[in-house]
């Protein structure tokens, strides 16, 4: 008796040589690739005039000055809830698309998929289609193989550098940085960021490919929990295709076992074995199979977008359910509603936010002091925010039921100028006369106002005055 071999601990990566395919989904994917890559590479170069004091880059994450610019919108750090809202929308959007269309994000829009697609395009252009690439892979390392490999790697590297390079342009003025990068005078962080992103793009897009999706990405595992019987995924109509046979005989199914669906698959799987974790639903096997079905004179859709609920119905001979009936259901409507509500909320918040603002921090060490004439004084640190592109004169005032006097430290009047697009710190004193109630009470409510002298625009904050009775 032989002892059973222990299972292998490690497995080598199986090479995949996706064949070229054309069809509706391939064309759609080319378009999505062109648009997403176009947006990614070109956005930092769009200019947007905001006046002389502010940067003129349309989309800019200005870490140094703590600002985020998006065309006409400017986000300050204290408005980070916009980013939180967008992230929640992104999350809900993924729920929506996953429950309706399965891993459509993976198949069409994920950067890993888009860049891998681009890298495979380059690979095919230099080394030829599937069969040529298999031959080259098997061939010895002769001059031709080296030439092709090095050409391919060089082009990949150029794309990778452009990818890493585009990223850093989002964080500072793009034309200036581009000149600095070429001249060698840019900040080391810019170079190291480009280096890291170049390396990840090159390795992930060129060599890791499906390994990233299968072993590194948590999304394939999470998505399984979001799908239900009506979720559309790429599937094989085995009730129509089986029994498969290369020869057209009586009683055989439509599948002629031509392996076209397997050969085009970038994940290296056979969709006819059913839905599996590796499948990113890129739909290229649908295009490949439709092409074959057209050639042998059969109806398209042997491999198609199908829901789990379709199988028993179609086996029973019912006609295919239209796509919109799968997509439009309580769950997706609910996700869409939530998504839109948050979207409306954010847009609403964007329009009602004020261009001037203040925050008040009462000085609590000490809570109050007694002046030589017996009056009681509290001190408050104010932060005055001017979001306008030009300097503004702000008048500080207070309203309270008690008789309180306000004075702005360092100014004879209670008016100070705040520079454009900036926050200024100011200190105000609030004084209660010795005989007044506020001086002897515990706390007295008061409201501090800031008013734009020119436009009359104003904002307020509530705080308290601390008297002697603590």
């Amino acid at each position: 008796m032989t002892t059973p071999q222990p299972p292998k601990l490690f497995a080598p990566q199986e090479p995949i040589f996706p064949r070229r395919v054309s069809g509706f989904f391939r064309t759609l994917k080319w378009w999505i690739m062109a648009v997403t890559l176009g947006i990614y590479y070109l956005t930092p170069w769009i200019r947007w005039d905001r006046g002389p004091a502010l940067p003129d880059q349309a989309v800019l994450i200005d870490m140094a000055h703590r600002r985020f610019y998006f065309f006409w919108i400017e986000i300050w750090p204290h408005e980070f809830y916009f980013v939180a809202g967008l992230l929640i929308m992104a999350g809900l959007g993924l729920f929506l698309f996953t429950s309706a269309l399965g891993r459509v994000w993976c198949g069409y829009a994920c950067p890993q998929t888009v860049w891998t697609d681009l890298f495979i395009l380059v690979e095919r252009w230099i080394e030829g289609d599937r069969n040529a690439r298999v031959r080259l892979w098997k061939a010895d390392w002769n001059f031709k193989k080296w030439r092709m490999r090095i050409t391919k790697w060089a082009v990949w590297l150029l794309i990778a550098i452009a990818t890493g390079g585009a990223w850093v342009f989002y964080f500072t003025d793009a034309p200036t940085l581009a000149r600095d990068l070429v001249a060698g005078t840019a900040h080391p962080v810019a170079y190291s960021t480009i280096a890291v992103l170049t390396a990840t793009t090159f390795v992930f897009g060129g060599f890791m490919r499906e390994q990233i999706c299968i072993y590194m990405c948590p999304w394939p595992r999470i998505q399984g929990a979001m799908m239900d019987d009506d979720t559309l995924t790429v599937a094989y109509r085995d009730w129509r295709g089986e029994p498969r046979a290369k020869k057209r005989l009586e009683g055989t199914g439509d599948c002629i076992d031509c392996m076209a669906c397997v050969n085009v698959c970038p994940m290296g799987i056979d969709i006819r074995e059913g839905q599996q974790m590796e499948c990113i639903t890129c739909a290229l096997c649908i295009d490949a199979c439709d092409d074959v079905m057209a050639k042998i004179g059969k109806a398209r859709g042997l491999i198609d977008y199908l829901a789990l609920a379709d199988e028993p119905e179609e086996r029973a001979g019912k006609p295919p359910k239209p796509v919109w009936k799968h997509v439009l259901r309580t769950r997706t409507v609910l996700y869409t509603t939530l998504w839109s509500l948050i979207g409306f909320g954010l847009v609403f918040a964007l329009f009602i936010r004020a261009d001037i603002d203040l925050t008040v921090e009462p000085v609590r060490n000490p809570q109050y002091i007694v002046m030589s004439d017996g009056s009681v004084r509290n001190t408050y640190t104010l932060r005055l925010r001017n979001k306008h592109g030009e300097p503004r004169d702000f008048e500080i005032s207070l309203t309270s039921d008690a008789a309180l006097q306000l004075s702005l430290e360092g100014f004879d009047t209670n008016v100070m100028t705040v520079a454009p697009d900036s926050t200024t710190q100011a200190r105000v004193y609030v004084i209660s006369a010795p005989q007044d109630a506020a001086a002897t009470a515990g706390t007295t409510a008061l409201r501090l106002w800031v008013e734009d002298v020119e436009s009359g625009e104003r904002a307020h904050r509530d705080t308290v005055f601390n008297g002697k009775d603590q």
Partner: protein, 291 residues
């Protein structure tokens, strides 16, 4: 030895062996790891060895191995402090030489002085005057508008430089109230205390106060002034205002008059750089009571 075959549990669906463990009906397939994952593991080991050579790593009795790069977080902080000192060198020398009364005219220098002075204050002064500069009994509140030795920025700088009642500096502020317990009778002290209380409209005995006025005129007015308004040239406090360094109640005032007080402040001129003294004077001056 048991038969290994017995432990083999093959998953029916995939034909792959499971790990043999089961959690609530869930079994884990024992698929092989991709080989590149193994390489990342080896790479981490190589990286770890390199890190140990380059950076502080092995703890020994007197600290850790230094690493060939000579990196330390303390060294980084020290380098950063040096960098800022170098960056601020111009401002620091300007601050050391500035005419303090006109410091407010130079906005940038003033801002630097106040920020630097805050740091000096919190390091050297807050132990007595409090981190918020509100003082305590016997330690003056620096936020209010009452100054024993003057509240202009130059006055403050002088006090900081030379201190109060310290024998190490001949230029230190010096004044000493006599302990009137040796001079006056207890009843006379009580009378003068009630007179002093009457000056700041505190509740008092009018008969005692009237008698105390005469004693005050004889014994106290030479320093505190005829109207008890005080004198900053000799550090005599204003007795008519609402601010008391030690307290304005009868018991505390009696104690003060009987035994007198002797608060001291060290001279900071020899301990701080001239720019630091100017900085802390600017900081204290802008706290809300500067004259």
């Amino acid at each position: 030895m048991s038969d290994p075959k017995k432990h083999q549990d093959i998953d029916k669906e995939t034909g792959v062996e499971t790990t043999g463990h089961e959690w609530d009906g869930i079994k884990e397939l024992n698929n092989p790891l991709p080989r590149w994952w193994l390489w990342t593991f080896y790479l981490c080991i190589v990286w770890g060895v390199g890190y140990m050579i380059a950076y502080p790593a092995w703890p020994l009795i007197n600290g850790a191995t230094a690493g060939v790069l000579g990196y330390s977080t303390r060294g980084e902080v020290a380098a950063e402090i040096d960098r800022y000192k170098e960056q601020n060198a111009d401002l620091t020398s300007a601050l050391a030489a500035v005419e303090l009364a006109s410091l407010g005219d130079d906005e940038a220098l003033n801002r630097f002085a106040v920020a630097a002075g805050g740091a000096v204050f919190r390091t050297n002064c807050s132990q007595c005057h409090g981190s918020g500069a509100a003082g305590a009994k016997g330690y003056p509140n620096l936020l209010d508008d009452d100054w024993l030795w003057g509240g202009t920025i130059d006055d403050i700088a002088y006090t900081v430089n030379h201190g109060i009642r310290n024998e190490t500096d001949l230029d230190a502020h010096w004044s000493q109230m006599p302990a009137f317990g040796d001079v006056l009778e207890k009843e006379e002290i009580s009378q003068v205390v009630h007179y002093v209380m009457s000056l700041s409209s505190t509740e008092h005995d009018a008969t005692l106060a009237t008698a105390g006025a005469v004693i005050f005129d004889e014994q106290c007015s030479s320093c505190h002034g005829v109207n008890a308004e005080g004198d900053t040239s000799m550090g005599a406090p204003n007795l008519g205002d609402a601010i008391w360094l030690y307290g304005g109640d009868e018991a505390t005032l009696t104690e003060t008059v009987t035994y007198s007080r002797f608060g001291v402040m060290p001279a900071w001129g020899p301990r701080l750089t001239p720019s630091d003294v100017n900085a802390v004077a600017a900081y204290v001056h802008q706290l809300g009571g500067g004259e």
